[in-house]
């Protein structure tokens, strides 16, 4: 069904659907002293891969996702770096061309479905809008596709619900409408910004299952932003941990969670209650994340890091590969995690 429009894709990018390289996001200032919010972010998402980005509020995880979707807040822009989607450069791409990608190629699901849905349009029509516009379907075909999509996301009685307005539905149903809307044009990349944070646990469980099943069925790649390590463990195959605008550690979910090589990742794991280990003592990370304007000079985590040495306070540690596919941005990683086979 799909033909690759990027015939000239270089061999190195052939494997990845989305390749973000050295992305820097911030506010451009006239006098040149730009405020950098996200810096030096690079990652690859292969077709069909489920990639999670974990971080606290202010870590830049949502901005990174929004940069891919071209939904950065007013005033915030990509300062440098590249976002390569299927071989095409998104940074600097004209608006009209880029909008054509949104829907059939890239789609996004937001955290709060109530504010992301149009309150005065029936949800069925909102889902049908994408297919009508991008796939050129007739009103009737688009509507039946919408109903089919709603059924796929597990909405009971989809025909009747398609005529409902957003306020008439519960949070879980609204989030499914968002998912149905996002996948209605079978995108190849689905961006999810905390899609289950506003939901109850049992409903979160249902929605995660729906997302996973859909991606497995259609081979859609997932970029999943959340603050919950457990949700990433349940949903994703690979992940990046962001702290203060940079990627602290990245790798496969199994590698990162069972063999963390950055003190921040380790701290997150130690401080979050784990249902499977009720007896484990929680070890909080001292201090709190720095604000965007008050970031330290060296490693942003140094002021909270129990292992920090002089070098950490003066230079920003580069990301280094420990094992193939597993990166960490920590000078002292080897010393801290000494004796652990890589």
């Amino acid at each position: 069904m799909r033909t690759s429009s990027a015939a000239g894709t270089a061999a190195s990018t052939a494997l990845s659907l989305l390749r973000v390289t050295d992305l820097r996001i911030g506010i451009r200032r006239r006098r040149g002293d730009d405020t950098v919010i996200v810096d030096d972010v690079s990652f690859d998402i292969a077709a069909g891969q489920r990639f999670g980005v974990v971080g606290e509020s202010g870590s830049g995880k949502s901005l990174t996702l929004r940069a891919v979707a071209d939904l950065l807040p007013k005033g915030v822009e990509v300062l440098s770096g590249s976002i390569l989607y299927d071989g095409r450069e998104l940074v600097g791409m004209p608006g009209a061309e880029r909008r054509r990608l949104m829907g059939p190629e890239i789609a996004m699901i937001f955290q709060e479905p109530m504010t992301a849905l149009n309150p005065v349009v029936r949800v069925g029509d909102q889902i049908a809008e994408g297919p009508r516009r991008h796939l050129g379907l007739s009103k009737r075909t688009a509507h039946s596709l919408a109903v089919e999509m709603m059924a796929k996301t597990g909405i009971p009685d989809p025909e009747r619900r398609s005529r409902a307005y957003a306020h008439e539905l519960s949070g879980g149903l609204r989030q499914r409408i968002m998912i149905a809307m996002a996948v209605s044009c079978s995108p190849r990349l689905l961006l999810c910004d905390e899609p289950t944070t506003a939901l109850d646990v049992t409903v979160q469980h249902q929605v995660l299952r729906v997302l996973e099943d859909l991606c497995a069925d259609t081979g859609t790649a997932l970029a999943f932003v959340t603050h919950d390590l457990a949700v990433v463990n349940q949903t994703c195959t690979s992940m990046a941990v962001m702290y203060s605008g940079r990627i602290a550690e990245s790798g496969s979910v199994v590698e990162v969670l069972s063999n963390p090589r950055h003190p921040y990742t380790r701290g997150l794991l130690d401080s979050a209650p784990d249902f499977d280990q009720p007896e484990r003592q929680l070890i909080p990370i001292a201090g709190f994340p720095p604000s965007v304007t008050g970031r330290p000079v060296g490693c942003a985590f140094a002021p909270r890091c129990p292992f920090a040495v002089e070098r950490c306070r003066t230079a920003v540690p580069p990301r280094e590969e420990i094992t193939p596919g597993h990166d960490t941005a920590c000078f002292e990683s080897e010393r801290i995690f000494a004796g652990v086979p890589a």
Binding site: A46, Q49, T202, Q234, P278
Partner: protein, 383 residues
């Protein structure tokens, strides 16, 4: 009331006791009844429907449930912000009147979910505490400052915070301020409504630790309203599970998680996202969503979503009854539910050699490491 008098002996251990508490919100607005269509036939929202619960002296009792289950309404009634439609609240064996006097209000204090909206941005920390200390005559005027500093230290803040305004603090610090404010009047009960869910993960643990130490050192009794079961499991002594305005199960924490006697509790436990690699629950998904409190199902209120429901469940509304020592459940089939295994799927654990704390510690400090990186979930490394 009769219930409390009968259990006069228990009053020495129960600092707070509610019996048959009901809260009904009457809906007069035609707009709302139009929006909710047939659901609001009688125009009533039963937020609480016969709640019986006791908070013991010096314990942390967790109240869990999904949104709309009535847990926040219960918290508000306990703290005196709302009055119950019927039923009673006893504090220290004495009934709490609908309108509390200053001392009665003082003894039950609340910490709210969002520390960004629950602190007045235009009042400095010092004035906030001074106002309370003077109004409730906690200490003489000349000792107010010393007492304020003591309170700040108690929650892990320094004296210099006195001159600062809430906007100068991070989320976690603000929640500490909110706790200091609640403690200023020396309450014996603290009601905490989702106090960590608005905080960052790395900060949550410090606030949880603070609650635990306050309970240990001051002997505070804490009602901890939460939806995150992993948090609850770490912090609380007992857990009460709410569903649609009623307590459906109460037990000691370990007992509740090891041996849940209500299908809803089982569903909740099965829905918890797991953090240990290899511990992935995807076997059981609860169908449907919590029904609206406008239209509580007849019979057992959980039966439309319950996999174990029988005809009896559709007609009989089960009361909360003892199923084991210190363990009550409101399920007709509580005693014949099969054994529960909250542990990760054994098949997966086997593949992973079931990583535990000890394993993670070992991984981080010595030599062993998880071997294969392929599972049934087909976790592939990035290309």
């Amino acid at each position: 009331m009769t219930a409390a008098r009968q259990d006069a002996t228990q009053d020495s251990t129960d600092v707070l006791r509610v019996a048959d508490l009901t809260k009904v919100y009457a809906l007069h607005s035609p707009v709302i009844s139009r929006l909710t269509r047939g659901g609001a036939r009688d125009g009533q929202l039963r937020a609480l429907d016969g709640v019986d619960l006791e908070l013991r002296r010096g314990e942390i009792l967790a109240l869990v449930g999904e949104s709309g289950s009535g847990k926040s309404t219960l918290a508000k009634i306990l703290v005196g912000g709302q009055t119950a439609t019927s039923g009673s609240v006893h504090h220290d064996g004495h009934p709490m009147p609908a309108h509390r006097d200053r001392d009665q209000r003082r003894r039950i204090q609340m910490v709210f979910q969002d520390p960004y909206s629950s602190l007045n941005p235009r009042i400095s920390v010092g004035s906030m505490l001074r106002e309370l200390l003077l109004l409730h005559r906690v200490v003489p005027r000349r000792d107010v400052r010393a007492e304020s500093v003591r309170l700040l230290n108690l929650v892990g803040l320094e004296e210099d915070a006195l001159e600062a305004y809430p906007s100068q603090f991070s989320g976690g610090q603000r929640q500490r301020l909110a706790i200091a404010r609640a403690l200023a009047v020396r309450p014996d009960v603290l009601i905490a409504d989702e106090p960590v869910s608005a905080l960052d993960v790395s900060v949550q643990a410090t606030i949880l630790e603070l609650f635990a130490s306050l309970q240990r050192e001051l002997g505070l009794s804490i009602l901890f309203v939460a939806h995150n079961l992993a948090v609850v499991q770490h912090l609380s002594h007992r857990v009460a599970v709410m569903y649609l305005g009623r307590i459906v199960e109460v037990a000691e924490t370990a007992e509740l998680f090891a041996n849940p006697r209500h299908p809803y509790t089982r569903a909740l436990i099965d829905s918890i996202p797991r953090m240990s690699v290899g511990s992935i629950n995807e076997e059981f998904v609860l169908e449907g969503e919590p029904p609206s409190p406008f239209d509580v199902p007849a019979g057992c209120r959980f039966h439309p979503r319950c996999p174990y429901a029988t005809d009896a469940c559709r007609t009989t509304d089960p009361a909360l009854a003892d199923v084991a020592r210190e363990h009550r459940s409101a399920c007709l089939h509580a005693s014949d539910l099969d054994a529960f295994d909250a542990a990760p799927d054994p098949r997966r654990s086997l593949e992973f050699g079931s990583p535990t704390t000890a394993d993670l510690e070992r991984v981080a400090t010595t030599t062993t490491v998880t071997t294969t990186v392929t599972t049934t979930k087909d976790r592939s490394t990035s290309a």
